[in-house]
Structure formats: C-alpha cells, structure tokens
C-alpha cells in the first residue's frame, strides 16, 4: 500500500515535469486550410453585440478567401458561445487552441470577457487581436500578445465631443451638465474623463450618478437626470439603457441642448427602430461610420448590404470592428510572410495598419497608437453621420438638439 502511494506520487511528479514544456504552436504548411477560433457571446448579458461581431468576422473571412486565403491558406471561422461567462470563455479559448488546434484566435465582445480570455491566450503563446476590450484595465494586464483594434483606447472616446462643446461660442455653450453611467469598465472611464475635461472648461456638473450594470429599470435614474435640467446630458450606456433614458426624456418633455450616449446610437437599426424619428440630434462617439472613406470602407459597406440586406444605417459599429481585426491580421501576415503567432506578435508591434476604422499601430501592451481618434457622430434624418471634427465631418453638427417629436 505504502509503495503504491509512493509510486503514485512519483508518477504525478514525473507528469508535472513532463507538462512544463508549454504548448508549441505548429505553423501549418502552405496552402492548407486553417481555422480561426473565436468565443462570442450569443447568450447572456452581452448577447446583443456578439452576433454583430460575427457578421464582421464572417465578411472578412469571405473577402480574404476570395483573394486566395490568408497567405494562401483558405480561412474557416469557428465560433463558440461563451454564455457571457468567465468560466466558459476560459474553457473556450483553451479548447480552441489545445483541442481544435486553430491557427489563430480573435477576441470576444466586451472588456469584461477580454481580460480573462487574454491571459489564457497569452500563456498558450497565441496572438490576441481583439475588437472590443479597450478599458484601461485591459492594458494594465501588460500583455505583449494583445492588440486592441480600435482607433483609440476607449477612455478617450469622448474627447472629440468635449473639444467640440468647449469650442462653441461662449453664449451658446452649455452651462450645466448631467452625467450618468453604468458601472462598467467600458463606459465609466469615458464619462469620468469627459466630466474632468468639461469641469476644467467651466461647465458645471449638476448631477453625476453611477448605476450597476445589472439595473433594468432606468426610469428613476432618467427622472433624476431630467430633474437636474442640465443643458448637456452625457450618458455611459449600452444598448438597453441608451433607449430607456431617451424614452423617459421624451415622456418628461425634457429637451437638453445636447445628448450623447457612449454606446447604443452606434448600433444601427437595433437602436433606431425603437426610437423612430426621435433619434434626431442624438450623438455618440464613433471611430467608424458607414459613410467614412477610410481604407476599403465603401467596399465593406457594399458587401455588408449585399450579404445581410438592410441599409448602411443598419450596420453596427461592432461589425466594422470585427472586420478591422481581420484586416489588421491579414496585413501583418503579409508583412511577416507567415501566420506563425510569435511572428505575428512581433510584427504587429511595428508599423501602421489600414482598417475600415482608419490607420492604427500598437504599443507594447496593445494600446492603439497613431489612430485618427474617435469622432462625434450624430443622428440626422435617420442616418448616423460624422459631424466633428471638421476634417471628417459629413454634415454640420445640429446644435442645440431639436425638441422631441
């Protein structure tokens, strides 16, 4: 009995040393088909954004296969559902890499899930280009293998907007501002930075509220904002709250001079079909708009409509972000002459890459560099268009915002 125990322990010890080697990623031989693995949220909290991301990835895969594949490798996308949960996202990336032996992996939706996923992918030696995890805490992970494919770290998303507000003539500029934000790594850093900048510019804060991401009844919050009667309303929202706030404002006949929401208005039809004509004048920070002339964007928009139907206004920014991830990887692979993950990681840290969201490069922890930044987009006559800065604007900003209809 005793001897058996010793044997077991020794065996386990041996096993441990045998496993210490780590996973070597084999590079597939030229011309063979490859699979790219992605864990996306199709059920659970983030399930409204997951499908839009998938559309972007699929469209890119189709495009790259038309050109003969990624460095000659025909690409298949493999999606698995992470149920918007950390347990599953950790499981999924390990399965994709060690069990399905995918050649590359792309990122999931949201900063929340990107963080645990990124540590798993990093330790398995894969590159992790990701479209949706840009919170300061993502870069604080200090991972060399992560690349955030958006024009700027999300903290700075509202900077264009605050610049525009503060550049308005003094007599028109809002005097007071009300803020409300979800307690989420994506939204709150944006609101806090905007508040700091506007207060420094002399705009008084009359209300500031943080609410849990789990909130479902937003009416009391919206009433609080409405009762502050602020000139400017700046909201850190995702889709459901973005709609709920506006509905309560309409019901309360509360017409701020300007209203911006961090996410929601950039989601195309998912947003506009619930508010109809009342989207008019609502703003959103956006690195991408369907009308942009950035690299390949007109083609992307045309192909999107051909494949999924609808109009340019229906396209969610998530789809463009997913498509950009593919573009970045494609250019890096060409530049490196390889789809080996280590080579891709090294290559992605140098140079500039062209995407439908404009050009961008990456610093040592994957923060986007040299991008054109995030602009201000505004709903005008049923379309979301860039209105600031002037260099990219397709229309004049509408200010003050029209009253609700």
């Amino acid at each position: 009995m005793r001897r058996a125990l010793i044997a077991i322990v020794a065996g386990a010890g041996l096993a441990l040393t045998a496993c210490g080697g780590g996973t070597a990623t084999a590079t597939p031989s030229p011309g063979t088909p490859i699979t790219i693995g992605v864990s996306v949220s199709l059920t659970g909290d983030f399930s409204s954004d997951g499908p839009a991301l998938v559309k972007g990835y699929d469209l890119w895969a189709e495009d790259v296969n038309k050109k003969g594949g990624l460095l000659g490798h025909p690409v298949t996308m493999k999606y698995v559902d992470d149920l918007s949960s950390t347990t599953q996202v950790v499981t999924n990336y390990q399965n994709l890499i060690s069990s399905n032996h995918v050649a590359l992996v792309f990122g999931p939706y949201s900063s929340l899930l990107t963080k645990p996923a990124a540590t798993v992918v990093d330790r398995l030696g894969y590159a992790f280009p990701e479209p949706a995890g840009g919170a300061p805490s993502v870069f604080a992970l200090n991972l060399h293998s992560l690349f955030f494919v958006q024009p700027a770290a999300i903290e700075d998303n509202l900077v264009s907007y605050t610049n525009w507000l503060l550049a308005l003539p003094a007599d028109q500029r809002p005097k007071t501002a009300a803020y409300a934000t979800e307690d989420d790594p994506f939204t709150q850093p944006q609101i806090d930075k905007a508040r700091k900048l506007l207060e420094a510019g002399g705009i008084q804060t009359v209300s500031y509220k943080v609410y849990p991401a789990e909130t479902t009844d937003f009416t009391p919050l919206a009433l609080k904002v409405a009762s502050s009667n602020a000139d400017a309303v700046i909201l850190g929202t995702q889709v459901p709250d973005a709609i709920a706030f506006v509905k309560t404002f309409i019901a309360q006949h509360y017409n701020p001079k300007t209203l911006i929401e961090t996410a929601g208005p950039d989601q195309g039809a998912q947003y506009s079909d619930k508010l109809g004509a009342n989207t008019e004048g609502i703003m959103v920070p956006a690195g991408w708009t369907s009308g942009s002339q950035a690299f390949n964007n007109p083609t992307f928009v045309a192909e999107y409509i051909a494949k999924y139907g609808g109009t340019a206004a229906d396209i969610s920014a998530d789809s463009a972000e997913g498509y950009s991830v593919g573009q970045v990887v494609e250019q890096a692979a060409t530049k490196a002459g390889s789809i080996d993950n280590q080579k891709l990681i090294d290559t992605l840290h140098t140079g500039t890459y062209q995407t439908v969201q404009g050009p961008m490069g990456f610093d040592s922890v994957g923060r986007p560099q040299g991008g054109v930044g995030v602009f201000v987009e505004q709903w005008q006559n049923g379309n979301a268009v860039f209105v600031y800065p002037a260099a990219v604007a397709a229309a004049q900003p509408e200010y003050p915002k029209h009253d609700w209809q």
């Binding site: 441990l16 059920t43 999606y79 698995v80 890499i97 540590t119 709150q188 991401a213 789990e214």
Partner: protein, 331 residues
Amino acid sequence: MYDRRVLMLLGLVAVLAVALLLPAIAPDSATTNIAVFTVMYVGLATAWNIMGGYTGYISLGHAGFFGFGSYALGLLLAKLGVAGGYEPFLFVPVAGVLTAVLAAVVGWFALRTRAATFVIVTIAFMFMLQLLAENLTSLTGGGAGLAFPNPPWRGGFFNIPFYYAMLALALVGLAASWWIRRSKFGLGLLAIRDDEDKALAVGVPAGAFKLTAFVISAALVGMIGGVYGYYVTFIYPQFVVDPLIGISMVLMVFLGGLGTLWGPVLGALILEPAQLWLAYNYGVSRLYLVLYSAVFLLVILFMPRGIIPSASELIARRRARAPATRAGATP
C-alpha cells in the same frame, strides 16, 4: 461480505489513482481545464450536500459563499501584495475561515426560517452579496472586476497546480462528508431532515447542529471559490456570485443522490463535463439551453431520488429476488 469491502476499497484506490495521475494521462490544457472545473464541482456539490442533503435545508444561495471566498482571497492577495505562484494557495484556508464567519452570521439569521422561506432567504442573501461586491467599488473594484496575481506558469502546465488544489479541497470535503455521516452529529442532522420538531423533542440541539453544518458547508465552498478566482485570474460580481453556480451544485446532488456520500461526486462528474461540452458544441446554435433543460427534466421526472439511491434499490431488489426464486419460495 469481506471481499466486497476489499473490492470497494480497491475501486476507491483506482479512482483516486486516476484522479491523481490525470494530468499525466491527458496533459493538454483543454482536458485539464475541464478537469479543473469538474473537480471544482465535485467539491462544491459535496460541500452543499453536507447542508442540503443531510439536513434537508435547501440553500440556493451558496453561490454567495463561493463569490465571497473568491473576493476574500483576491483582496487578501492584493492587500498583502502576494505575487503569483504557489504562495497564494497558502491563503486559501484564510479565505475559508472568513467565509465561515460570514456563514455563521447569515446562518444564524436564515435558519430562523424553514422550508420554502429558507430557500428564498438564501437567494436574497446571495443577491445582497452580489450587490455589495458591485457597490463597494473602492474595495472590490465593482463592475470593473478584481484582478488576481498572474502566476508565471506558461502553456499547458498552468492548469495543473489548480487541478491539484481543487482535488485537495474536494478530498477534504469528501472526508468531512464521510465523517459526518458516521458521527452522532450526522445522525442528528438526518433526524432534523426527517422531522425537525421530533428531533428537537428527543433532544437533538437542532439549532446548533444546523448552524454547524451550514458553516462547514459554506467554508468549503468559499475556499473553492478562492481557488476558482485565482484560476480565472479575473473575477466580477455577476460571474462569481452567479445563481447558476448555486443551482448547478444543487442539481448535481439531486442527480447523484441527495444525502448520499458518492451521489454529489457522481452528479458532478456527469453534469459538469456535459454542460461544458454542450455549451461548447451547441452554444452557437442556441439549442444548448434547451438540451440542458431537457436532460434536467428527464432526470427529475424519472429518477427523482437520484442515480445512487435508484440504482442501489434496483440492485437490492434483484438480490432479494434471486435467492427467493432459487429456493422456490413464495412471498
């Protein structure tokens, strides 16, 4: 009689050997990852069974203790500046003690109620803990989550220390469960399950016994939560204080056999890999939940007492019949 016992002991040793050697048999990280979560649920279900199975008090809020243990360990490591590696595992028992203290307070209150009210009170406590984790942002980081130190292990090796940590906790849980079943304390708990008022009448200190079982059960769950947090490296209020974790352990116990020693183990070994596999393969088609729920319903409707009691009843009936027919006797 003697050789059956030897057989059982041998079987036990074999299972233990496989469990200990698993990382050598299947070292790829996809398998060891599933093993980590499966053994985690073996521990959770066993711990839950000490309260729910033995006393009959159904707690649906054990995910609160899971999350609390997770946050307790994460905060300890952060405040003390412990670096990633083996050292954080030494703090897991501390997280267990903290969870035990919380459980004593919660239990003192919740155990004033019985049956359905108790079920709902435990749910309410779970949500209170979740809201605290969300709202005390300066302490817990709120919705932005709490980071654990990142261990320096690379590649497939990473999962292995966690696997053994989870396995150790599961074994502790099993040992506790086994000891309780054979002790006078355990008899008292079973008496409470059968009829609490009668148990009180014959002198079982029901209040103290229930609270003790509750605290042991919660402390184990809290320690497992701590290891879980360290494993996934990032925890969020809604993912560690997750009602689904709480209900999963209950389901596993019911599937395997409520109040039995091995039922929770069997339930976890079947359900957790199945759940991860179904989600991985059918999640995208969105039918995963439907499949899971169908399995769930079939089990409860056709095996309401769980696999182990149903199976042993079947075996006992066969045995009872076999000699009877041989002897040609009529009942």
